[in-house]
Symmetry: C2
Subunit: 466 residues, 2 copies
């Protein structure tokens, strides 16, 4: 059922005093110690252990909790439906994390959570174990005050970092059970440390591998150099030709059907406290290259991209090897915006890349996975409730932004559960998700717990009329 | 002293019957079993063992033989100077080999020599253990007939595959002892199986690494894609811009001062039995890209090149990782021709590459090593003696070619020992030196032994006046 906009306001206690922060930290550290890397086939046991950790915790909170197997890593599902007549809130999160490579760049081991300068350093600390667990603790915090003000369902998956290949079938099979009025997701970054943020859109993704073949074997670069095709040089040329000198992707049809940014959005983002120089400085670069004709925020949130995420070929070892490799490859991802269909984009690049292969080489594209872009109603009652919750924690209105990141299954929620999605971002970009030394501010973790608790209150019993 | 062109002819016995082929094979296999990879710092003990193997063998043949340490891997030096009044021949070879990577592509282990279809498969079988050891066995074969007809010195180094960083100082320190009338080198490929070949020129080499830096850490390609510089895309663009659409290297000054090919050379090579289609088929490619305006043989032997020998950056593991890497790198080698100075070329690319770095990235060049190009008198008495020796083995005149490969210390021999260099190539391109499944035809090994023996005879007592 929808939230009644006319529900009389109620006073709510300050939950901050009731939060046992040390206990909350210890529990998260235990969760972060399990190396739940979904892309690593040698860690399936760790994935299962992580799922059991979460199931046991939620069962301990009086939830009906279970682990549902899938064709890949399992799903943790839990529900506590003791608020008849109140909305049902489905909280989604993922317990899998990115690979930790390159390991040597971590100051402390990725799976030994360490607090430095008020930050919890560990793989998954912010993406998404920390943000997901903040909701678990938020619910626990509310339970210290009595029954939950809404019906709560947890859906915690283990394959988000590899494109959630099995979640859509899961949602389809459990559509009735998962029915909810709103789906809450915390898997992103606030605009700035002091700026609570509600995200109303995510970019989609098309992730592929390009493989280039030259000769039928590695060749001596002296005996053959000058006449034999070089697949590494060829791959470099293919990658270069995928963009023009204006930073636009050259794949034919790539931009067809894109929802242009509205004047409202461009103005709203132009008003945000963003500074290109400070942004560039925050990542240590002298300039911010990108598509001509758009601001940095527009490029990050509202425009598609193409980035090479990995490349390999020939001799990478110590010393020198004078060889012309037989083959080379690269991992390439394209971030997509509303109006672009991942499957269509993957087909377009799969058709285009072979035509770019220089003489003597062949190039093929192997699709990895994709995710649909998504844009959500700016003025839904859920967004307004989240704004009030955030205001109680941060003391100021939230800003409405989009994220450049992708949560592939958001579209599936929309299609299969027919429920709106509410993004409440608890992290920060400087958390460095997907990078060595990923971290999550201790204060953000604690504020996240409070935000979750207040949000459930606001969804169940708004403190102000709308 | 020079060979007297008026020395009366003498008859020489056919040494073929005297060659114990099985014994020759067993000895070479023992040599090939030692993994003497000079680029691998974990194999210094294997390098020393290989040097001792050769020293002991030559000592057993009555040579004064020793191992001379260098700042890197040791040199094996041996001499037998019992032919007063006869020329002194210095035979150069190298006992180090290329790294065996990628190991998984070897049909049989690289350091377990295996004979299949008349070929010896092992790393170093042709480059250069097999060709160098053919001379050791050639000398042994001659000794079965009596004293050697010339004074013979062996110089076997262990750092050719890493650019011979310590050989030049060694030659300088031992210039008097190494004095010779001619230096014989067998470290290359014949033009074709039935075409004995004398090589009168080698290309030079400039080998560098390009390192590109983007942000100060790996970034989430969703949160930053579209605004953050991508060092892999940048590296691809830099590599692409190092050549134009005519296959010409764009480094300013790269072609300055090159000795153009003479009409004689272009005609001589045009007359060789070369077929582009067959050459392309031999390496399994549909086309032979390269510098416009030159034939394949001209591009391979007489024109400079630029090839990427290795590239890396970002995530290369299983699955997908949506990351924008902080840095990327590539190993790049340029083959040089007479008129190009490796140090100058290395300086030119080191100055040029940084100017190609796209906005937001920085690119630097780290020099690896170089080698000077070299061209040698087509009509020297040594070339003519080699031609007679080869005719006795193959029954036909040799062709005079150049090689696209580099033997960096050839120029040093010329400068420091003031002796001409004679290349007698015993291998074939299909031996696949530097590649997985490197091999050396058993018949080429045995013919090499006979060629070496006849060559020493022809140098000591020509069978025909010139």
């Amino acid at each position: 059922m929808p939230v009644s906009p006319y529900h009389p306001p109620m006073t709510t206690p300050d939950l901050s005093a009731a939060l046992n922060r040390e206990q909350a930290n210890e529990e998260l550290f235990d969760l972060l110690r399990i190396p739940s890397v979904s892309a690593d086939p040698t860690r399936t046991a760790d994935m299962a252990a992580t799922a059991e950790f979460l199931r046991a915790k939620l069962a301990g909170l009086g939830f009906t909790a279970r682990i549902d197997p899938t064709a890949g890593h399992p799903v943790v599902y839990a529900e506590r439906l003791n608020a008849p007549g109140k909305p049902t809130v489905l909280i989604y999160g993922h317990y899998d994390v990115q690979p930790e490579a390159p390991l040597e760049e971590w100051v402390t081991p990725p799976f030994e959570p360490t607090v430095r300068d008020g930050r919890i350093y560990a793989r998954g600390s912010t993406d998404d174990k920390g943000q997901a667990y903040a909701h678990v603790k938020g619910v626990e915090l509310l339970l210290t005050q009595g029954e939950l003000p809404v019906n709560v369902k947890f859906l915690l998956e283990g394959e988000e970092e590899i494109g959630s290949p099995n979640l859509e079938p899961y949602l389809r099979d459990h559509a009735e059970e998962l029915k909810a009025d709103v789906i809450v997701i915390s898997d992103g970054s606030r605009f700035a440390p002091d700026v609570p943020t509600i995200t109303y859109g995510v970019r989609g993704l098309s992730y592929v591998e390009i493989h280039v073949q030259g000769a039928n074997r590695d060749l001596h670069s002296g005996s053959y150099g000058g006449a034999a095709p070089n697949p590494i040089n060829a791959l470099a040329e293919i990658i270069t030709r995928l963009k023009d000198d204006q930073g636009r992707v050259t794949i034919p049809g790539f931009y067809d059907g894109i929802d242009d940014l509205t004047d409202t959005e461009r103005q709203m983002w132009a008003d945000l406290p963003h500074d290109d120089a400070a942004f560039a400085a925050s990542i240590g670069v002298p300039a911010l290259p990108g598509e001509a004709g758009y601001t940095t925020l527009e490029r990050l949130w509202g425009r598609p991209t193409l980035d090479v995420n990995g490349i390999w070929g020939g001799y990478q070892g110590e010393g020198s090897k004078t060889v012309i490799a037989a083959k080379a490859g690269a991992k390439v991802s394209m971030r997509l915006v509303p109006g672009q269909d991942p499957e269509r984009i993957t087909r377009l690049i799969s058709e285009y890349v072979p035509t770019l292969a220089p003489a003597g080489t062949t190039a093929v594209v192997h699709p990895h996975h994709g995710g649909r872009p998504f844009k959500f109603d700016l003025n839904s009652p859920y967004n307004l409730a989240a704004n009030r919750a955030l205001k109680r924690v941060f003391g100021r209105e939230a800003v409405f932004a989009r994220t450049g990141g992708s949560i592939p299954i958001v579209a599936a929620f929309n299609d299969l559960l027919h429920a709106p999605v509410l993004f409440v971002d608890l992290g920060l970009n400087e958390d460095a998700p997907h990078s060595p030394n990923e971290s999550f501010a201790v204060s953000d973790y604690h504020n996240g717990i409070l935000t979750s608790a207040y949000l459930l209150q606001e969804l169940g019993a708004p403190t102000t009329a709308e």
